[in-house]
C-alpha cells in the first residue's frame, strides 16, 4: 500500500474534498443553470405556440380578405356586364328611333312631292284650259254665247283630263 502511495488520511481527505465540491456546485451552480435552461425551453415552446396561433389567424384573415376581394370583383364584373347590356339597348333604341324618323321624313317628303306634283299639274291643267279657252274663243268668238262657251270648255276639259 505504501509503495502505491495509498494512505488512509489522504484518501479520506480526497473524499471529503470531493463531497464539499459536490455540495457547493449542486447548491450554487447547477440549480440556476438548470432553472435557466428549463425556463428558456418553456419560453421558446410558448413562443412557438403563440407564433403558430398568430400564423393561423393571419391565414384566416388573408382567406377572408381574398374572399371579399373575389366578391367585389364579381360584383364589378356584374355591373360592367349590366352597363354593357344597357348601352346595347340604348344604342338599339337610338338606332330604331333614328330609322323611324328617317322613314317619317322620307314619307313626308314623298307626300309633299306628290302634293306639289298635283298642284303643278292642276296649275298646268288650268293654264291649258285657259289657253284652250283663249284659242277656242278666238275660233268661235262670234257664234257662241258665254254659257255655251263654258259648256264646251268643261266638256273639253273633262275629255282631256290629265288625271
Amino acid at each position: 500500500m505504501d509503495a502505491l502511495g495509498i494512505n488512509g488520511p489522504f484518501l479520506l481527505a480526497q473524499i471529503v474534498n470531493f463531497v464539499i465540491l459536490y455540495l457547493l456546485l449542486s447548491r450554487l451552480v447547477f440549480p440556476p443553470l438548470l432553472k435557466m435552461l428549463d425556463e428558456r425551453k418553456q419560453k421558446i415552446a410558448e413562443g412557438l405556440t403563440a407564433a403558430e396561433v398568430a400564423r393561423q389567424e393571419a391565414e384566416a384573415e388573408r382567406a377572408q380578405l381574398m374572399n371579399q376581394l373575389e366578391q367585389e370583383r364579381a360584383e364589378a364584373q356584374r355591373r360592367i356586364a349590366a352597363a354593357s347590356t344597357q348601352a346595347e339597348k340604348v344604342k338599339a333604341e337610338i338606332l330604331a328611333s333614328a330609322q323611324k324618323e328617317a322613314e317619317e321624313i322620307k314619307v313626308k317628303a314623298k307626300l309633299e312631292a306628290e302634293a306639289e306634283k298635283q298642284r303643278i299639274l292642276a296649275d298646268a291643267e288650268k293654264q291649258i284650259a285657259e289657253l284652250t279657252m283663249l284659242a277656242t274663243e278666238r275660233v268661235v268668238r262670234l257664234g257662241m254665247d258665254q254659257s255655251l262657251q263654258h259648256k264646251l270648255i268643261e266638256d273639253f276639259l273633262s275629255e282631256t283630263s290629265l288625271n
Binding site: 479520506l12 459536490y22 456546485l25 449542486s26 447547477f30 428558456r40
Partner: protein, 343 residues
C-alpha cells in the same frame, strides 16, 4: 506544403528547424524522477499532515471548477451573453440530454449534479497537467534525502538560469558505498529523533509543487469507493431490503443454490468496479504524464505537442468515462433484480 518555403514562412520554418536543432544539441530536459506515490513537499504540512503535490493540484482543480461555475451563474441572462454562461449551459444541456436518454428524466435530474461534478472536477484536474509549470516547478531535494525516503538513486546536477536554480541533464548516481553510508546516517538521525540532512548534496531531484491530481491513487480510489458505496445506498433506498438478494443471501431470502454462486460473482464485481474505476483513471493519467516527460526528454520542442493534444483528449475522455460509469452504476442499483419479483 510549398508555401512553407516561401517569403515570411521560410523564416519561420528555418526558425523552427533551428530551435529543434538547438534543443537537440544544447537543451536537454532531464527525465524527472518518477514516483508512484505523490511526493510530499518538503517542509509543508498542516496540523502534522504532510502536503503532497497532488493535494495542491486537487485544490487547484476545485478552485478552477468553482470559479468557472460561480462566474457562469453570476449575472445570468435569459439571452446569454457571457462566454462562461454559454459554455456551462451548453455542457449542462448536452449531459442532461444524454443522461435523460440513458435513465429517464427523473434519474437524470437526480444525479446530474453528481455526474457534472465528477466530470468537471476530473476534467480540470487532468487538464491542469498540460499547463506549463506543472511537474516542472518545485523544490530541490538532495538525492541523499530522496534515497533515504524512497530509495531513489539517481539525481541531477544543478545550474542557475536567470537566478533560478534548475536541474541539468547530467545525472548523478549514488554508489553502493554512499547508499550504505546514507542508510546508516539516516538510521542514526531517526534514532536521535532528528531529520536526516546530508553533509553535502551530491545531486538533486525535483519535487514539483503541482502534479496531476488523478496520478494519486488516493484520489481515484477515494472517488471510486465513494461512487460504489453511494450506488449501494441508492439501491437500498429505491429497491428496499430486497436489494441484498442480488448478493448471496440464500438463508434469508430462500433463493436457489445457483444464486449463491451468482451472488458471490456479484459481490466480486462490486470490488472489481472500485478497482477498475480507480485504476483506469489513475493508469491513463499517470501514463500520460510519463509519456509527456519522456517526449520532452527526447526532444524538448515540437515533439511533445501532438502528445499534449492526445492528453487533452484523454483527460476529457477519462473524466467522462468516470462520470458516465458513476451514473450507470447508480442507475443499475435502482433495478430490482430481474425475475425475483414475479416468482
Amino acid at each position: 506544403m510549398r508555401k512553407l518555403f516561401q517569403g515570411k514562412n521560410l523564416i519561420y520554418t528555418i526558425g523552427v528547424l533551428a530551435l529543434m536543432v538547438v534543443s537537440v544539441v544544447f537543451i536537454r530536459v532531464p527525465l524527472p524522477t518518477i514516483s508512484l506515490p505523490a511526493e510530499h513537499i518538503p517542509g509543508w504540512s498542516i496540523a502534522g499532515f504532510p502536503i503532497t503535490n497532488t493535494i495542491i493540484a486537487t485544490l487547484l482543480a476545485d478552485i478552477t471548477v468553482l470559479l468557472i461555475g460561480l462566474l457562469a451563474v453570476r449575472k445570468m441572462k435569459d439571452v446569454p451573453e457571457g462566454f462562461l454562461q454559454n459554455i456551462m449551459e451548453w455542457v449542462v444541456e448536452i449531459f442532461d440530454g444524454m443522461l435523460t436518454d440513458i435513465g429517464g428524466k427523473k434519474k437524470a435530474r437526480a444525479w446530474l449534479p453528481m455526474f457534472l461534478t465528477i466530470l468537471l472536477f476530473l476534467l480540470f484536474a487532468n487538464w491542469w497537467e498540460l499547463v506549463p509549470g506543472f511537474d516542472s516547478i518545485g523544490v530541490m531535494e538532495p538525492v541523499e534525502v530522496a534515497y533515504a525516503k524512497t530509495g531513489v538513486t539517481t539525481g541531477y546536477e544543478t545550474t542557475s538560469i536567470l537566478g533560478m536554480s534548475s536541474l541539468v541533464s547530467d545525472q548523478v548516481k549514488l554508489t553502493e558505498e554512499e547508499q550504505a553510508e546514507i542508510k546508516a546516517e539516516a538510521k542514526h538521525a531517526e534514532e536521535a529523533g532528528e531529520e536526516y540532512h546530508p553533509h553535502e548534496a551530491k545531486g538533486y531531484i525535483l519535487i514539483p509543487y503541482f502534479r496531476a491530481a488523478a496520478t494519486d491513487l488516493n484520489l481515484t480510489i477515494g472517488l471510486a469507493l465513494m461512487v460504489v458505496v453511494l450506488s449501494h445506498i441508492i439501491g437500498f433506498r429505491t429497491v428496499g431490503v430486497k436489494y441484498i438478494r442480488r448478493f448471496a443471501m440464500p438463508v434469508i431470502t430462500g433463493m436457489k443454490p445457483i444464486d449463491i454462486i451468482v451472488g458471490i460473482l456479484e459481490l466480486f464485481s462490486e470490488f472489481a468496479k472500485i478497482i477498475s474505476l480507480a485504476f483506469r483513471l489513475f493508469g491513463n493519467i499517470f501514463s500520460g504524464q510519463i509519456l509527456l516527460f519522456v517526449m520532452a526528454f527526447l526532444l524538448a520542442f515540437l515533439l511533445p505537442l501532438p502528445f499534449m493534444a492526445l492528453e487533452l483528449f484523454v483527460g476529457f475522455m477519462q473524466a467522462f468515462v468516470f462520470a458516465i460509469l458513476t451514473f450507470i452504476y447508480f442507475e443499475q442499483a435502482t433495478h430490482s433484480h430481474a425475475g425475483d419479483e414475479h416468482h
